[in-house]
Symmetry: C2
DNA sequence: CGCCAGATTGATACTGCTCAATGAATGTGG
DNA sequence: CCACATTCATTGAGCAGTATCAATCTGGCG
């Protein structure tokens, strides 16, 4: 039996390429809690706090239920790199070794509601229920793929194209499709500093480049809302148009 | 029972931070084959071939037994980014969805011996044997961590420091410890182009920067052999000295 | 109203890239 | 074993893209 056909999650998600084949799935929080045999422990964080910090360990996994979380690392010289944005439905806290300390910090960008899952119980549940483990494994593979995508973006694209790529990726994650009509917009809970830290640029340069994109009529960013003006040109700049590749969306989302 | 204590792999590895706690393990190929119920199918590739290619699917997983493999992606404009170097003992071919196509190419840098594992059988084995799956999951988490490390390197360090970081990381993976004595050396099966593609630099700039590092007496690269001249200064430049973090080594290695 | 974080803009410096020429090493066929 | 081709590395000159520093502007909020 292929991993994908393990019957566990209920419902399919309309976004991912494997739509309808049972791979991209939604799991209900209560089903998860039952599998893990854990009580519902929800916690709400204001913007700007950390779920866990670089260099520490945590006895919990977290499921993001609402809000945006950024994974970031601070280097020896104080430079910060944002590694990934985590949107609702994803699981945080996986580690290569049980006692490993985190190599990055998970900080909230908005008010964020998370589900707290004791590590012991969750690990135990994965052993007794391979269906769960296989889904977590897929999620891990997905995160690697997203990290690879980011590496290409940072390493090999111009500032202009980096921004376009990131924005289109987030657009797709949030809306479930590529930008098509002029005027479509998403809410970006990000400052220019966040964008710069994610893309290996300074906030100053992000500002200039956004101005350019604006002037060229590709997109518009104002008050944390990004509006697409010219979807064709934006897709072109993002790099998604040429390859036909799609942004990577987690194969599993955990929902209330 | 913590995931780490699932008894499957035999032997511990002397490298990783969890040494001796049963987490970083070696698994023998014959044990793996027995678990997977697969025949021993080995294949040898000359340097410069691909195990699988970006945009395609593969019905196999691969275990690298000997040689170096690079994971790389080519962008719409032909620019190439090397995403990771895969050394012997690691498993390749995990995917977020069953029918997903690869977002990157796995190409051999040297003559490479790999073990070929049919995807169906391996997936099946992971379901029936959670011990195996848990180890693969850890490996996936490790790969994410390594990707994160690379992102920091590319996004936020100078060319000089990027090179130092990468070389120290590879040194650690190969030798099991940080450079300590002047004169210690490793074989890097890489051209300057490979190094540049991994670090988001041009081969020209890598050449210049290596010249500088040489002149400053940190290290020396010649005929694919990197010799450490000043371990202290090199560690400083690599960023490992300041944070105390260690290069990420896979928690599982599959050996003959 | 005043404060403050975030965004914008300008001037200047620097890092790393491009293009191009040359040199060194490696491989190939005769 | 040599002549040649090919790939890889080095070096120089000039340029492009991004950073830095600093000043100013804007909008939200106590």
């Amino acid at each position: 039996m292929p991993l994908s056909q393990i019957p566990n999650a209920s419902g399919t998600c309309p976004i991912c390429p494997s739509h309808g084949k049972g791979m991209c799935q939604k799991m209900r929080v209560e089903d998860l809690l039952q599998t893990v045999k854990a009580d519902r422990a929800q916690r709400t964080y204001p913007a700007g706090e950390s779920l866990y910090q670089q260099g520490t360990t945590s006895p919990n996994y977290f499921v993001v239920l609402e809000g945006w979380v950024a994974l970031s690392a601070t280097l020896e010289d104080g430079e910060k790199q944002i590694l990934d944005f985590v949107l609702p439905g994803e699981l945080l806290g996986m580690q290569p070794y049980d006692d490993a300390s985190f190599g990055h910090t998970a900080e909230t960008l908005t008010t964020t509601k998370v589900l707290v899952l004791p590590r012991d119980q969750f690990d135990e549940a994965m052993i007794t229920d391979p269906r769960l483990m296989s889904q977590v494994m897929r999620m891990a593979a997905c995160r690697e793929a997203r990290a690879f995508d980011q590496m290409q973006n940072i390493g090999r694209r111009s500032a202009r194209n980096r921004i376009a790529h990131m924005f289109v990726g987030l657009f797709y994650q949030l809306k479930g499709h590529f930008p098509q009509e002029p005027g479509e917009s998403i809410e970006l809970n990000l400052t220019l500093n966040h964008i710069g830290d994610a893309l290996g640029l300074t906030n100053v340069h992000v500002s200039r480049t956004l101005g350019e994109l604006r002037k060229q009529g590709l997109l518009h960013l104002n008050q944390r809302r990004m509006t697409v003006l010219n979807p064709i040109a934006l897709m072109q700049a993002s790099g998604y148009a040429a390859t036909g590749a799609r942004p990577i969306v987690s194969p599993l989302r955990i929902v209330v």
